[in-house]
Symmetry: C2
Subunit: 249 residues, 2 copies
Amino acid sequence: MKVVIIGSGNVAYHLANAFVLKGINLIQIFGRNENDLQEIALKTGVPFSTKILDNADLYIIAVNDGALEEVSQLITKKNCIVAHTSGSLPIEILQGEYRKAVIYPLQTFSKSKELEYHKIPFFLEAQNTEDYLFIENLALKISDHVEASSYEKRKYVHLSAVFACNFVNHLFARAKEITDAHDIPFKYLLPLIEETTHKIFQVEPKEAQTGPSVRNDVRITKMQEDLLNGEFLKIYKTMNESIKEMYEL
Amino acid sequence: MKVVIIGSGNVAYHLANAFVLKGINLIQIFGRNENDLQEIALKTGVPFSTKILDNADLYIIAVNDGALEEVSQLITKKNCIVAHTSGSLPIEILQGEYRKAVIYPLQTFSKSKELEYHKIPFFLEAQNTEDYLFIENLALKISDHVEASSYEKRKYVHLSAVFACNFVNHLFARAKEITDAHDIPFKYLLPLIEETTHKIFQVEPKEAQTGPSVRNDVRITKMQEDLLNGEFLKIYKTMNESIKEMYEL
Ligand SMILES: NC(=O)c1ccc[n+]([C@@H]2O[C@H](COP(=O)([O-])OP(=O)(O)OC[C@H]3O[C@@H](n4cnc5c(N)ncnc54)[C@H](OP(=O)(O)O)[C@@H]3O)[C@@H](O)[C@H]2O)c1
Ligand SMILES: NC(=O)c1ccc[n+]([C@@H]2O[C@H](COP(=O)([O-])OP(=O)(O)OC[C@H]3O[C@@H](n4cnc5c(N)ncnc54)[C@H](OP(=O)(O)O)[C@@H]3O)[C@@H](O)[C@H]2O)c1
């Protein structure tokens, strides 16, 4: 099987790297950003180009969600599979006469950060069994967790990731604004953050909840609200209310 | 120096354990909950009792914030230091004629979870230099990070911990409700959660932000809002707004 990756961002970089490490026949990385393409080519040894090769069996488009529809039209070949990597777009976003698929890796990718690829869960969708088995075979070469997933399900996978990753990171960023404003080294929070994450590998997150909100400590929650304003206060009140609702306080 | 710990909850358990490991002369654990006291005595070899010894130099009260004022009155001795361990209460909550102090450990403690004590930052307050040096000496035996902190500053330390730990854990709990409701194994989120935390050991959280909100991807944020209701929707909107505000989107 011959594979082409389209795009040169975070996902393209790591997929290309994972494929090459597992001996998958990645014949080209295609994109519009020469610097980024060059970086991936250097890392993986796979040639890049700004003209798409037409002899691949599978094209994986890893570009911004907003550009996916447009970029998918660049593939004029019919007898091939074209897959996107987005958690929140349907298979039909792909515009072409080829067979369509989705290969959604559940992870937060940054070029600067190495990953253990075998731990990344892959959620797959295809339009027929043969194509599904083809992409499943590919994903299983990289990952220990490969699952079929409809668009309906994939949307909720992505949504849970928004809560557990994107919003969590934003809380870290807001916490850092608090420590910065009060001359507290942010690094003091890191052991606490590490421990918060470690805990839920052993204990259900609902059981692991601590803090004034879950103790319904009105004296302290009121005092803390008085220290806050703007977005900080909105977050505080929203989370406090949500904790109360969850624990029926 | 002779130390007594009052309380038998999560903080009392770990402080007692850390003290004994470092050869600090912990002469008693005092409390009202015999089962819990016994558990700590078994773990540490320190005797427990429901009558407070009166020959200690330092009494550390690690009971619920709400019980602190009441419990602090049990110590009738005058020539000693009495410290509480709360991030969000002033030193004056302690009601007695002894000298007062605060020993606030910035960590999330659960009995079931071992900790690397030397990584826990301690924030200290005392009413005179001699007492400060006394409790500093004690804290430095356990921890690499010991700092003087006024009540004003300690409040913000605790507040940043509420954002970076308590609220983060609540997002994990809400994410689990989403995965549970859609037949997605929550364990699939764990590598993502681990990576989200690892990232901020290397990258500023503000730089590490990913996801539809920071890309201002209105199509996907609108679609995701339509999947949510109740507290989930309130959290989604609040976090989305806050991300927009932070990145001036
Ligand atoms: N990042 C994650 O953590 C993650 C996780 C799972 C799935 N995904 C999905 O993976 C896909 C790619 O995400 P990413 O994070 O890799 O994005 P990214 O790092 O922002 O990279 C996007 C790539 O798309 C290219 N591109 C954008 N518009 C284009 C256009 N009109 N024509 C040609 N190329 C274009 C960009 O080129 P330029 O550099 O020239 O703009 C860049 O190479 C998205 O569908 C995303 O939802 C991402
Ligand atoms: N947990 C954390 O992560 C953490 C972190 C930093 C600081 N702190 C602070 O440390 C202190 C203790 O917290 P914790 O998490 O250890 O609490 P905890 O696990 O809930 O334990 C509280 C202890 O206080 C006892 N207690 C409650 N009311 C009492 C009363 N009226 N008389 C006598 N004993 C009473 C409880 O006894 P029963 O079992 O009989 O109720 C229990 O032994 C608090 O000030 C908290 O703010 C906690």
